[in-house]
Symmetry: C2
């Protein structure tokens, strides 16, 4: 057993540099041989196209297949496009069927048919192509093995011994009736500890959570997380068992879905990566900036309306951004909680009116705390009592607006079928800017002499 | 098998309302009996304290224990505090040892000793109390079963049959030497399909990823996700196997860690929940608002410096927020990618100088695109060419600052040992506000007649 838990990033960086410099030979091969496919994948992603292919070709085909499964989708496609048909088909045969189907789904459709014709595992992979990547059908592996409830434990173990050892790890064994409908599940452990003559029916658990082939992957991930599942069986419209989703895919989904919300809240498309190409990065980020620009001009038009007041009291320009900005910050806090609450479905059990009352109360209390603080600092700084009082009042009002909008906007978007993580931020900050400027500059226009 | 995949939230809401109204009897008990412990937990969290205890007491003790494992930590403590010593000890005995240790760690230390003395599972739970909740030692379950490499498969299966059937599901069997040091791992499936006389040594995998008892849970989650693990063995300082972390705990950790970054980026403490008590919510959110307020005053002081210019050209107040705000948006985009990249350690392989060059180029390109757009709209709106040109130039400059700060600030915070997710946002927006106002109002002061 290697002493090292996992290579450090300095180790990997060092290997990458040596490979980039074109180093080959026994020493570097020995170092590479110790790595996990996930580490291989990291290294390959950093290399130029030609070096990638060379390195992959030097690997046994089953290792190359495993490494490809760990490489980002976009990069995998680029690598696949460089390979000859037979070479790629051989690798696809060694990949997990769900991963092979994902890759095929991203390739040129004309090439896909030729590849499938060349593959040995065509039968396992072709049915998966029918389902989108982000559904249970797209994530599942076709069922390699199932039991019948009238089997004995001894017969089940014999059947298991005969089944292909290449199949993915089985921790749950699914039990089907003669029509291939799922009737229960038994853990391998339970099978092993049971006496050989026991009937499967007596040790199986007949309460099984299932998903349909078209269930969204987000829902699959939620079930995994909520119920602590290790694998999720997938059934077709006749309730026949057609495959199951393995736990590593589900963990990816759970992480991806939270990550997607994080990126959306940061004003980014869900597929954004730190290392997108320059053009790709700008294509993904610029549209959001333009959307925000639109709302910024809306808010600016409010300020413009009050230009005559600002011309008389330029000090208003000093404070206007504080009112708008603090509203935006408070609204973003509420919004972030709401988006996460909606994503984990924790909010489903609560009443919207309750939430609204709660958050507007928090807004009022925070608005008072922040408003008084701002008012005092502004008075000590500029010495104008009336402006300080207006500032305090506008801040209180805008914080109530912020927290109310932070609740309402995600709920309304969700009801309208729009992902609240994507669009809520723009609306909330637009509202807090507009209300902040209107309240502060409006009161100033009315009240200042 | 039930037809229903999982109860809908309307179903749960309905049950909660009926229980809140004090309904008891056979019908509601039948409905409750069908639920998964995770659903029970949701229902119990919504009930008043007295109803909670009643409902839990009506359950068999092993069911009550499982339900408690799904309830939020804070609520579990409140429930435990209401229970008698013997009652609670009996439930703790039925909980997974890591969950029991988590709960005990949150209780009054004086009570913990009395509870442990009352418990049958004291020996399994007490060693876990030595480790913080968020380390591998706090997450692990003590090892229920291990194999020796010189055993035959038949002997291993016999030993497995004799081991407690109550132990947590075993998907990997760990192999130790005579000093209890981990030497390999064999999957149950491999054991089952091997011929009975095979030696464990010949079928075990001797490359095992391990973590130490004090490894941070974030690192454990990262290993799970990166290498697609199902369980993670935990060793002590002498490399002896002391336990393992099960996959459901690791999934929770993966989700928690991404979620924590999301909340931090939204300006919230990591433990924030939509349903914190009013006081709790304000205690967690208000400090962040005050921190932001500090930076807002800093930016305001920049505006204040240019008050004379604004008094002459009030229209500057209309555009100043657009420059600052767009800078903040662009900086947040870069920042969000950086924080996620640092968390997943993808950034470890890249050069800071490379990143900086990349992001400042993106900043310049986006600044040009946005700046020209803003300049044109401003000119069409206000008809002042010089101000429009100043606006365009300031926007370009601030976008470069934004993207540079979005890279540098998280990297510097990380190097200083501060979680970049927590503090980056404040610094980035402070910088983009200050630079935005300085560039725009400064150029206006210098160039306007």
């Amino acid at each position: 057993m290697s002493d090292e838990i996992t290579p450090t990033y300095d180790d990997l960086q060092n290997l990458i540099e040596r490979l980039q410099d074109g180093e080959t030979g026994a020493e570097i091969n020995a170092l590479l041989a110790e790595l996990h496919p996930a580490d291989w994948a990291d290294i390959i992603e950093e290399l130029p196209p030609k070096a990638r292919i060379q390195l992959l070709r030097a690997l046994p085909v089953e290792d190359a297949a495993e490494v490809l499964e760990y490489i980002e989708d976009e990069e995998t496609v680029a690598i696949a496009d460089q390979m000859a048909l037979e070479e790629l088909a051989a690798i696809l045969d060694e990949m997990a069927p769900d991963a092979a189907a994902d890759l095929l789904g991203d390739l040129d459709p004309a090439r896909v048919e030729a590849l499938l014709a060349e593959m040995d595992e065509e039968d396992a992979v072709r049915p998966l192509l029918a389902f989108p990547d982000d559904t249970a059908g797209g994530l599942m592996v076709p069922l390699p093995f199932s039991l019948r409830s009238d089997m004995t434990v001894a017969a089940a173990l014999d059947a298991l011994r005969e089944s292909s050892p290449d199949a993915e790890l089985i921790y749950y064994l699914f039990v089907v009736d003669q029509k291939q409908r799922l009737v229960g599940v038994v853990s391998l452990r339970r099978l092993v500890v049971a006496t050989p003559e026991t009937r499967i029916a007596t040790i199986m658990d007949d309460e099984v959570l299932t998903v349909s082939v078209l269930t969204d992957q987000e829902e699959c991930g939620r079930l995994l997380q909520r119920y602590g599942l290790m694998a999720l069986p997938v059934v077709d419209e006749s309730m026949r068992l057609v495959g199951f989703i393995t736990h590593d895919d589900l963990v990816e989904v759970v992480a991806e879905e939270v990550e997607e919300d994080t990126l959306h809240l940061g004003g980014l498309s869900s597929e954004s990566e730190v290392f997108d190409s320059l053009g790709g990065a700008i294509r993904k980020r610029l549209p959001w900036l333009y959307v925000n620009l639109g709302t910024a001009f809306l808010a600016a038009s409010v300020v413009s309306y009050f230009e005559p007041t600002i011309a008389r009291f330029a000090v208003l320009a000093v404070f206007q951004s504080i009112v708008a900005g603090q509203g935006g910050n408070a609204g973003t806090q509420t919004l972030t909680l709401m988006v996460r609450g909606l994503a984990t479905q924790e909010l489903g059990l609560r009443d919207a009116v309750d939430l609204l009352r709660r958050e507007s109360t928090i807004g009022l209390m925070q608005g008072t705390a922040v408003g008084i603080g701002v008012g005092i600092v502004a008075y000590l700084w500029k010495g104008n009592l009336l402006i300080s009082l207006i500032l305090c009042a506008a801040m209180m009002g805008n914080m109530v607006v912020a927290n109310t909008a932070g609740v309402m906007i995600p709920l309304l978007l969700e009801r309208a079928g729009v992902d609240p993580a994507v669009a809520s931020g723009v609306f909330v900050t637009a509202l807090t800017d507009i209300c902040g400027f209107t309240l502060f500059l409006g009161m100033a226009t009315l009240l200042l002499p």
